[in-house]
């Protein structure tokens, strides 16, 4: 218990340091911006107008994005993902993999141990690849922010192409790397 607690506080400290560092970097960027604009005052208006329009666009969506991500990360447990995805097969496999990958449940490094658990449970390699890739690049709140800034055509086209190619890649990796020794991840069965 004690060890866990110190581990936790250590992690919190390091993440607090990182946040502090990010704010300092932002402060530095802001200061550099002010100095530049003092040297070139004729640029001031355009720079401020652009920054303001992006700022207001961001602030009307960012809190909602964070709330959605927070809710999903707390409500959907890792066990549930492994349970549903581990036994998914056929056409349902890649679709569920994309669905669970796209749910806003946390950063990419959380997906690796999950994927590893899925492989141990006997999930298809292609589905696991699709799952990690979807986790990395098809997050629902991110798609909505993309919609906001880049428009429906851009976001929709990129989303469809990404889904298509990610599934293709899953099958390709399965064929390329795991065809010869399919039993690599289930050594118990080899006996």
């Amino acid at each position: 218990m004690n060890i866990q607690n110190t581990e936790k506080t250590r992690k919190q400290n390091s993440s607090q340091k990182k946040i502090l560092r990010d704010y300092l970097i932002f402060g530095a960027a802001l200061a550099a911006g002010f100095i530049l604009l003092i040297i070139f005052p004729e640029k001031k208006e355009a720079a401020a107008a652009t920054a303001w329009s992006y700022f207001s666009e961001m602030m009307v969506i960012l809190p909602a994005v964070m709330v959605i991500m927070g809710l999903f990360s707390v409500f959907i447990s890792k066990e549930q993902v492994v349970k549903y995805l581990g036994k998914a097969s056929g056409v349902k496999g890649p679709l569920l993999a994309i669905f669970f990958g796209a749910l806003p449940t946390g950063p990419l490094y959380i997906a690796f141990p999950l994927a590893s658990a899925l492989i141990k449970k006997g999930a298809r390699i292609s589905n696991v690849v699709v799952f990690i890739s979807a986790w990395a690049c098809i997050k629902i709140p991110q798609e909505l922010v993309e919609l906001q800034f880049l428009g429906f055509k851009f976001m929709g086209t990129r989303l469809l192409l990404t889904i298509f190619f990610v599934i293709l890649m899953g099958l390709l990796i399965e064929q390329l790397a795991f065809q010869k020794n399919k039993n690599r991840f289930t050594p118990d069965k080899e006996k």
Binding site: L30, A51, E57, M66, G70, F112, V129, S133, Q142, V145
Partner: protein, 159 residues
């Protein structure tokens, strides 16, 4: 542009109400998580906004056009795709950046390549990925790079 704002806020409210009726304690925790991640990403967002502001007023559009516009061609796309693969900035922050690039004369393909490799390929997370999943599954990263470029080229053609 406005409909995205309504959509995402409505989604958040619906999820929040649903969650509240399902489990109050968990909802409370979710909001704390949300507030924390908001504070964590805020400096990055603000920094990108400051940079986009400066960038759009200081860098002339024809400079952008030579690097990642119609004149840039293949090498431009590959270079910016590589940049996206190496950088480790949150996707959320990359969209305003991408929008600013497009507005100042960049073409679709390089911008699409950048945001696609940014999320699809993770050089920073690579060691962890190899450790957890083995070198074979990590083929994903190199294949993803090629696919991201293909996706970007198709987007450049159809949009």
């Amino acid at each position: 542009m406005k409909s995205a704002v309504i959509l995402i806020n409505a989604l958040a409210v619906v999820c929040l109400v649903f969650a509240f009726f399902k489990d109050r304690e968990k909802t409370r925790r979710s909001i704390i998580v949300a507030a924390r991640s908001f504070l964590r990403i805020l400096p990055l967002v603000l920094m990108i906004i400051v940079m986009v502001g400066l960038f759009s007023s200081f860098i002339p559009p024809d400079k952008i056009k030579t690097f990642i516009g119609a004149q840039a061609g293949w090498s431009g796309i590959l270079a910016i795709a590589a940049l996206g693969a190496v950088l480790h900035i949150p996707a959320l922050v990359s969209y305003p950046l991408a929008a600013a690039l497009l507005q100042s004369g960049a073409t679709i393909a390089p911008v699409a390549a950048f945001i696609t490799t940014l999320t699809m390929v993770g050089i920073i997370t690579l060691p962890l990925e190899i450790k957890e999943l083995g070198i074979k599954l990590t083929l994903r990263n190199s294949l993803s790079f090629i696919l991201a470029v293909i996706i970007a080229l198709i987007m450049g053609m159809v949009l």
